[in-house]
């Protein structure tokens, strides 16, 4: 007895929505980056579920690429957070309005 693919889609949608809510309502930049990780993981669950469902290895290879991009994103994002903390001594997102008109 296998699990229908719609269950995986529901799980992925729940995790992705949680990540969107986290990005929108948290004020701590580190929490926002963690929420972005949640969204990336939701897409990865989708990729692997469809890879199993369609018997196509391409989905798993794309998870591999998503992992690479996530690692790059975390490295650059945390470097930006360190630079911001050095400049303003805070990582509250409301303190940073340098690029606002």
């Amino acid at each position: 007895m296998t699990i229908p693919i719609s269950y995986y889609l529901i799980l992925s949608a729940i995790v992705f929505l949680t990540g969107v809510v986290g990005v929108l309502i948290r004020r701590n930049i580190i929490a926002i980056l963690l929420s972005i990780e949640l969204m990336l993981n939701a897409t990865n669950i989708n990729f692997v579920a469809f890879s199993e469902y369609l018997q196509d290895m391409g989905g798993q290879v794309f998870v591999f690429f998503a992992l690479t991009v996530a690692a790059a994103e975390v490295a650059v994002g945390l470097a930006i957070i360190i630079a911001l903390h050095r400049a303003k001594d805070s990582i509250n997102i409301e303190e940073f309005n340098l690029l606002k008109w």
């Binding site: 986290g22 309502i25 290895m57 290879v61 470097a79």
Partner: protein, 172 residues
């Protein structure tokens, strides 16, 4: 049995996802994310993606999360994090998404089962790592090289961004 495993993994994944967003302290959020990564890896094993499960544990739980915890400890944050006043925008974006999700869920039944595997596909599925390697180095060879370039750029960019007093190194 498969449904039992899926129920356990899915329940813990959904719960820890909510905890990542809801917990105030970033350290606790990161630890909840660690539990989520472990259970996503378990889900990958039930989906016959053993190589990805191992990579998930090594890269996500081992490298990325340690980097997060390192930065959280380095910055020595004060406990002043509260929710954004932007929650109205969040509700505006997410409530339609949630409704759409519920409508889709109510309207659609269960997807059809996949067709049974042929002998060739069963042979390919039995060696997951080899199948991924073959696909990666034949069909997706060029994206693989581009991914290595992305990692190089990210490494240099992270060093440049986190470096202290860039551009004023000549001054005493």
């Amino acid at each position: 049995m498969a449904q039992l495993f899926f129920g356990y993994f899915a329940g813990v994944i959904a719960l820890t996802a909510v905890l990542v967003v809801a917990l105030r302290n970033p350290v606790y959020s990161a630890l909840a994310l660690l539990v989520l990564f472990f259970h996503v890896a378990g889900l990958y094993v039930t989906l016959h993606a053993e190589f990805l499960a191992a990579v998930q544990l090594i890269v996500y739980a081992g490298a990325i999360l340690v980097l997060y915890l390192f930065v959280v400890m380095l910055l020595n944050l004060k406990q002043d994090d509260r929710y954004h006043h932007q929650w109205r925008v969040a509700a505006f974006v997410c409530v339609p998404l949630l409704l759409e999700f519920l409508v889709l869920l109510a309207g659609n039944g269960v997807a059809p089962q996949p067709s049974p595997l042929t002998d060739e596909q069963t042979a390919a599925a039995s060696d997951n790592t080899m199948a991924i390697g073959t696909t990666l180095f034949t069909t997706y060879l060029f994206p693989f090289e581009v991914a290595s370039l992305i990692l190089l750029v990210a490494m240099i960019g992270a060093i440049i961004l986190a470096k202290r007093d860039i551009g004023e190194g000549g001054q005493p």
